[in-house]
Amino acid sequence: MTAPSTGAPPGTGRRLLGLLTPRPYGWQTPVATAVGVVVALALSSALITLTGGSPSASVQALFQGSMADWTAWSSTLLYAAPLLLVAVGACVSARSGSFNIGQEGQVLIGALAAAWVGLRLAINGPALIVIMLLAAALAAGAWAGLSSLMHRLRGVNVVVSTMLMTFVAQQVVAYAVNMPWLLQESRVGNAPVSPQSNPLPPSGLLGSFGEYPGLQINGGLILAVAAAVVIAVAITRTPWGFRLTMLGRNPLAAKHAGVRVNALGGAALAISGALAGLAGAVLLASPVGVNRLQPGMAMNIGWDGLLVALVARNRPLAAMPVALLFGVLRSGGGFLAATGVPSFLVDVVKALLVLAFVAPPVVVALARRRRSGGRTAGARQEAAPVAEEAIA
């Protein structure tokens, strides 16, 4: 018997949020993860051996390309920065209960806006890069805000709309770099031009601290770490974060407590978009890419950033080491490909490793629940530690 309820049902978002926070279990999760990684590596080794490669050399290459020396660390950090930005944004939206999965498109929109500003505004000096970053954040924030608007006006599912908008974003960027009046590179002589923009002027690039072959820290990383810290503090320590958490965990109670649900939910989505857009600007303006707008420049950073947030259970500070790990996978993977292991195989290895990091916590949780007998018991009992942790 269900009494007719008058209030809106608790949102999808909340339930997804629950899932986005696999439950921690002391030592078991690390052990299971280690087992997972070993299995993934074993599978990869089998594949690599099949091609006549050497698994041990491959593991070594993974290590060499990502952690062996300062150069490798620098390249790992270059990848980690945009991943972290995306992940921090994903944390914000997931906490508010609206699940944004359109980061890949938002990254592109951010890069598009930054490129347009960088190439079209005749500004010299450090102001340019600042304006570029702002433009990226604004544009991508507005792009994600569209999904929020659609949710508010017509009840369009946020997950669905952010996903569809990703494909739209890809074509928008493809269009922009094919139109000479927009952002296509300028023609030199009668040589063909590619679907890409001109390279950014030097003032539109993010500077780095440190020199090759030492450790090089790009401005993008500093931005990302700052964003992670600011968002972490904002989420856990400010009234705003308090309301956000309330909204994500119980929208009805939040509304009852005077939270402006639509505005806050929309803001959360826009912030997550804005951070993804910043990641796009960092991809564009840091040495991780080639400093020009290209349709393929998002390089799955958006999708991977989402995975980072997920593995970090939507905690921005925890996202830092996880983003680093994914950075390691990327730089190590690139290096692995440079040793002659076919690059498609490298993609397979990376996918297997991602599964190895995502699946084990859930497996442990499930095993726990099975063991504890009551099938109903699990969810209720587990909720407690999650909550404590999220608040801590």
Binding site: G18, M150, S161, M163, F344, A359, A379
Partner: protein, 304 residues
């Protein structure tokens, strides 16, 4: 060439481009009705396309390839189902990872192997093929196309009329209630993914051994996502979903055929059209009421 011939050519082409979408759409439709937003559709189609060509080459039979494609689709559905609806890994994550995995694996495998090309045979229905305009497009096709005549009504019947489908719909709407009633929610969702995998596999295999005759890297080129857009466009109804597929297929056919008739269109706009149409459909029609209420949400007994 007469105008009728032109129309007939475009129709034929549109049908050929629609068929792989339509197979996969029947699968995705069923999976979504059961509550799974199956992003790994692309992986299912691509994996099946590869498997079918490899098998056809090994056995010399395109039909065997078709069967292999279905099996590979099933396999991916099995993996997705068990990860998402047994281990409770987020279904989007599973989808993204599977897509990356299958794209990498097939691209890699094609580099270390080479396959003969095989194509299933064409059927030409006497009499009917002579109907003007639509005769040739509809009645001269490779035989798996006619499987649609089976698959579409069967899918509809399964969802709308069979007990299994009733349970699927219940599971996609209110899984907690379905559970209390004695329906095994996650089992149903896994089964729905198997059906989805089989049909997406059929679609992918048809693309490879039906249409093209060979495999090349990333040959599905995002068709899985187009199908998802079609289901959204169709507001979770089979008829409208298929209409969406036909629309997208015909639009492509026109784009590919019109230049030969001396007309051109903006290609970017045409590429985004399916996604834009799906968004517009959601905005204009209140599809929300028809959306399976627990679409994309995991089921855990005891949670609300």
């Amino acid at each position: 060439m007469s105008a009728a011939d032109n129309i007939s050519t475009i129709l034929s082409s549109g049908i050929r481009l629609t068929v792989p979408l339509a197979f996969a759409a029947c699968g995705e439709y069923l999976a979504e009705r059961a509550g799974t937003m199956n992003i790994s559709l692309e992986a299912m189609m691509l994996g099946a396309a590869f498997g079918s060509v490899a098998t056809a080459s090994a056995t010399g039979s395109a039909t065997a390839g078709l069967v292999a494609g279905v099996l590979i689709g099933l396999l991916i559905g099995l993996v997705h189902g068990n990860l998402a609806h047994r281990l409770e890994v987020n279904t989007f994550v599973v989808g993204l990872v599977l897509n990356a995995l299958v794209l990498g694996l097939t691209s890699y495998l094609i580099t270390i192997s080479s396959f003969d090309s095989h194509q299933v045979s064409q059927v030409s229905v006497p009499w009917l093929r002579d109907i003007p305009l639509i005769g040739h497009p509809l009645f001269v096709e490779r035989w798996p196309v006619y499987l649609l005549l089976l698959v579409v009504p069967l899918t509809w019947w399964l969802v709308e009329r069979s007990r299994w489908g009733l349970e699927l719909r219940a599971v996609g709407e209110q899984p907690q209630a379905a559970d209390v009633t004695g329906i095994r929610v996650n089992l149903r969702r896994r089964q729905a993914l198997l059906w989805c995998g089989a049909l997406a596999g059929l679609g992918g295999a048809y693309l490879a051994v039906g249409e093209v005759g060979s495999f090349n890297q990333n040959m599905t080129a995002g068709r899985g996502y187009i199908v998802i857009a079609a289901v959204i466009f169709g507001a979770w109804r089979l008829g409208r979903t298929l209409l969406g597929c036909v629309l997208f297929g015909l639009a492509d056919a026109m784009r590919l055929a019109l230049p030969a008739l001396g007309l051109t269109m903006n290609s970017q706009l045409l590429v985004v059209a399916p996604y834009l149409l799906a968004l517009v459909a959601m905005l204009v029609f209140t599809t929300r009421n028809r959306e399976p209420k627990s679409l994309g949400q995991p089921f855990v007994r005891g949670s609300t």
